[in-house]
């Protein structure tokens, strides 16, 4: 999104303009949901967290700074909501490694994620990502998938850029290993 467009949308949102909200939702809605789905590995939780993120955006709209960067703002809120959800619901612990997937365990039909992951590499990537620790997964999703700079990702995760770089390097190595191991299977 162009910076000028972003500034205009923030201004519109601060003034309560529904069209500005729609434009922001069109730009980030699917991306935010996909980020949360891959991060949480649960569609239902991802939908809840995405919804809460958008509600927080509009609730805070009048208080937004005119120079707010919408992407980092939205992803930081979404990421923090996921952390809170993990703490309160023990989501991570509730998942058995054998059931790792991007859909709720025990789903009666193949999930759209699984159907869409028909490509072999893509499927291996999705499974490799899902098997990583959440801290590794989030940095790969933010930098690798969403294209945030390491500095922006560090701000979103609330860590120093140096810590993020180390985490990113470790996560890339783990994912490469996971994909490689699955190739050998």
């Amino acid at each position: 999104m162009e910076r000028e467009t972003e500034l205009a949308l923030v201004e519109g949102l601060r003034g309560g303009d529904a069209r500005a909200f729609d434009a922001i939702y069109d730009a980030y809605g699917a991306r935010l949901f996909t980020f949360l789905a891959r991060l949480s590995r649960r569609r239902d939780l991802a939908e809840d967290l995405a919804e809460e993120t958008w509600l927080r955006l509009v609730a805070n709209a009048p208080k937004l700074r005119p120079d707010t960067r919408l992407g980092p703002w939205l992803f930081a809120v979404a990421r923090n909501l996921h952390v809170s959800a993990c703490r309160s619901r023990l989501v991570e612990e509730s998942y058995s490694a054998s059931l790792i997937g991007l859909w709720p365990a025990g789903a009666a039909r193949p999930s759209p994620f699984e159907e869409a992951s028909a490509g072999e590499l893509q499927g291996r990537l999705e499974r490799g990502l899902a098997a990583l620790p959440a801290a590794d997964r989030e940095v790969l999703l933010l930098v690798g998938v969403e294209g945030f700079t390491p500095g922006e990702a560090a701000a979103i995760c609330g860590v120093t850029p140096e810590t993020l770089r180390q985490r990113l390097s470790r996560a890339r190595a783990r994912l490469a290993r996971a994909i490689g191991e699955r190739c050998d299977d």
């Binding site: 949102l13 909200f21 699917a30 939908e47 590499l121 990537l125 690798g144 890339r172």
Partner: protein
């Protein structure tokens, strides 16, 4: 950009449930309407108009019956 980042950037984007999205949009529009600066001024304007009207009524009553 590393090889891992390159393949990650090619992963598809998925969408949330459409019905839920429509509901969410409507809810957010409503919240924005309620929180917009114009909307927040409305109660003050209504109260101001009421006070002005009552002042006028009292003034007229005093003029009529006061003397």
């Amino acid at each position: 950009m590393t090889e891992i980042d390159r393949v990650l950037s090619a992963l598809p984007v998925y969408g949330p449930d459409r019905t839920r999205t429509a509901r969410l949009r409507a809810r957010c529009h409503g919240t924005l309407r309620d929180r917009s600066p114009t909307r927040r001024l409305e109660p003050a304007l209504v109260i101001g108009a009421c006070v002005a009207y009552l002042s006028g009524v009292i003034q007229a009553a005093l003029l009529l019956y006061g003397s």
